[in-house]
């Protein structure tokens, strides 16, 4: 199944709506709650990053039996030093963003922790394209 969602830069009040909608879909598919949670935690972080750090973008979600492939693509400005960005606690968030409870620098590390395969394409001045693959099992808990 293929679904896409648009993410608007700076729209903090709606950040998280996409991961909630995906959660509703996943819960109808007999996917274990552990996997549902992993997916929405990773997606939520990627979604908030687009809202907080980019010019906007989209979430493209492909669900097949036993795996989910979720891509989060934005239109820039890109991440100049990805290794640094992946470090726990590293953040360029402004004071204003931190005031809203974001900016602990834990988003990307959390994404890595919750995905089975993660690939990020980015460069300064270009798009950021995050590809997350999750192997999912059936079951309630």
């Amino acid at each position: 199944m293929h679904v896409t969602f648009k993410v608007t830069a700076g729209d903090f009040s709606n950040a998280g709506k996409i991961s909630s909608s995906i959660k509703t879909l996943l819960k109808q598919l007999n996917i274990s709650s552990v996997d549902v949670k992993r997916i929405i935690v990773a997606l939520y972080e990627a979604e908030v990053n687009v809202v907080a750090h980019s010019y906007g973008g989209e979430v493209v979600c492909d669900i097949e039996p036993h795996q989910a492939f979720i891509q989060v693509i934005d239109t820039g400005p890109g991440i100049p030093d990805l290794d640094l960005a992946m470090t726990e606690g590293w953040s360029t968030a402004t004071a204003e963003v931190r005031e809203m409870g974001f900016g602990a620098g834990m988003g990307l590390p959390n994404i890595r922790k919750n995905t089975d395969e993660l690939s990020i394409q980015t460069q300064a001045g270009g798009h950021t394209h995050i590809m997350m693959r999750f192997y999912i099992s059936e079951g309630t808990i």
Binding site: S19, N30, S33, K37, I141
Partner: protein, 450 residues
């Protein structure tokens, strides 16, 4: 553990139901469909919150009746009454008169359900909880527990497995009678309940109340018996004084337990109370996404204002709550020494029976047990939804266009049920029905009602 089906207590009277869709629109879990001009409740999705019963303009949804005379099968007849029962009467009826009337209509012992809180405090000096994770969710409201079983299985580990105050009061009542030489076989404990959910829980085999509580009694019918006692015995009931009978033991904080914020007020840490089932659902979605890590305890109630909003309560919920708060001002902060001693006497037998079994998940949202088939059904539902008008009129018998699309994908409905398409594009409808199936499984002959 075996999957024991829920016992449901709400019934649609088929000859009274007009198929008006009010209940279907209100149902928080989307359990109701209108087929053949009548409402049908899906037992797999119903949580017994009673919202449908409240909203039905034709009084076509009724609660299973309890047989009051069952209490007379026992020599010791214990009434476990919720504190809100006192709120159902006007101030002209005194607290003692209420207790007196309960004894007059047939009970031999009266305990207030929330006295269970004081028992717990006496046993452990504090209100402890059993749960694997935070925020701990109160198990007080059985409609909320059912909701979590059906829709939020990941949160089951956070439900408090400590028995509810009413169960603890029932346990104590039984042991206390035994302690005084009564035969446990001859003790019947009856819980007077304001709601469908508690009634359903008591009547579910092997539930947490089995063996403890012999039956639930609908609060409205007991209220009627009490009122007719007052009407017929005015003089006698007015003569009741503290010298004749004692008010049952209970502390002020316990007395307020079933009102919104009543339970959370006594819990340590950061707590939060949410009432009314749609609000509870909205909030559980957030908890499920793990965004509430700073909270310690959640009091969640299906009814607005808490249990004074229970569907069987005769009196306005705000007036009832006010009287309970007013009464609480005159109650002690703690129960008296003699009662504490009675509790401690049976503490050994209570302490090992305070925890209930782990609560199991039920499936209600799944389109199919097989992930591949579920995906196919979801795809199908999405394609169907694109051609539906999107006005959620409910005339098809499903609560929304999305629900009809899902019903068709599950082969439980046909697109022919869409009244709008039938008018605007009857030809197109024929083609669509050919593609997506003609089956109208729900339009079978309605089951005869008991």
């Amino acid at each position: 553990m075996a999957d024991i089906p829920f016992h449901h207590t709400l019934t649609v009277l088929q000859d009274v139901c007009k198929g008006c869709t009010h209940c279907m629109k209100r149902c928080p879990t989307g359990a109701i469909r209108i087929a053949g001009g009548k409402a049908h409740v899906d037992p797999e999705r119903c949580i017994d919150c009673g919202q449908c019963m409240v909203v039905c303009p034709h009084h076509a949804i009724v609660l299973e009746q309890s047989d009051f005379n069952r209490i007379f099968n026992y020599r010791n007849r214990v009434a476990i009454i919720p504190s809100l029962l006192f709120g159902q009467f006007e101030d002209t009826v005194s607290d003692l008169q209420i207790v007196h009337a309960l004894l007059q209509i047939g009970f031999t012992h009266v305990h207030i359900a929330e006295f269970g809180v004081d028992i717990l405090r006496t046993l452990g000096n504090r209100i402890s909880v059993y749960a694997d994770d935070r925020p701990v969710i109160s198990s007080y409201c059985p409609a909320v527990v059912r909701l979590i079983q059906l829709r939020y299985p990941a949160l089951l580990r956070t439900i408090n497995l400590m028995r509810t105050p009413a169960q603890i009061a029932a346990l104590f009542a039984r042991l206390d009678i035994e302690e005084q030489g009564g035969d446990p076989e001859e003790t019947g404990v009856f819980y007077i309940t304001p709601c469908a959910a508690k009634f359903a829980q008591i009547n579910t085999p092997m539930s947490a109340t089995s063996g403890l509580i012999q039956g639930g009694l609908n609060l409205d019918s007991v209220f009627n018996l009490m009122q007719s006692y007052f009407a017929k015995n005015k003089k006698e009931s007015l003569a009741v004084t503290p010298g004749v009978i004692a008010f049952p033991q209970i502390s002020a904080p316990a007395f307020l337990w079933s009102l919104t914020k009543g339970e959370s007020a006594s819990m340590p840490g950061r707590t939060l109370a949410v009432d009314e089932v749609h609000n509870v659902i909205e909030f559980l979605e957030l908890v499920e996404e793990d965004k509430q890590q700073n909270l310690d305890f959640l009091e969640l109630r299906a009814c607005a204002t808490g249990c004074t909003g229970g569907v069987l309560n005769p009196r306005n919920r705000f007036l009832a709550s006010e009287r309970i708060k007013h009464m609480a001002q005159r109650l002690p902060r703690e129960i008296d020494k003699e009662t504490k001693a009675r509790v401690l006497k049976v503490s050994d037998r209570m302490i090992h029976n305070l925890k209930v079994d782990r609560i199991e998940a039920k499936h209600s949202l799944k389109l199919d047990q097989d992930m591949g088939l579920a995906l196919q059904k979801m795809e199908k539902a999405r394609r169907i939804l694109e051609v539906l008008p999107g006005i959620d009129c409910g005339l098809c018998g499903s609560p929304s266009c999305a629900a009809l699309a899902e019903d068709i994908a599950r082969s439980n409905a046909s697109i022919r049920q869409c009244a709008v398409l039938k008018l605007t594009d009857p030809r197109g409808l024929n083609t669509l029905a050919r593609i997506w199936g003609e089956q109208i499984a729900l339009e079978k002959t309605p089951k005869p009602e008991v």
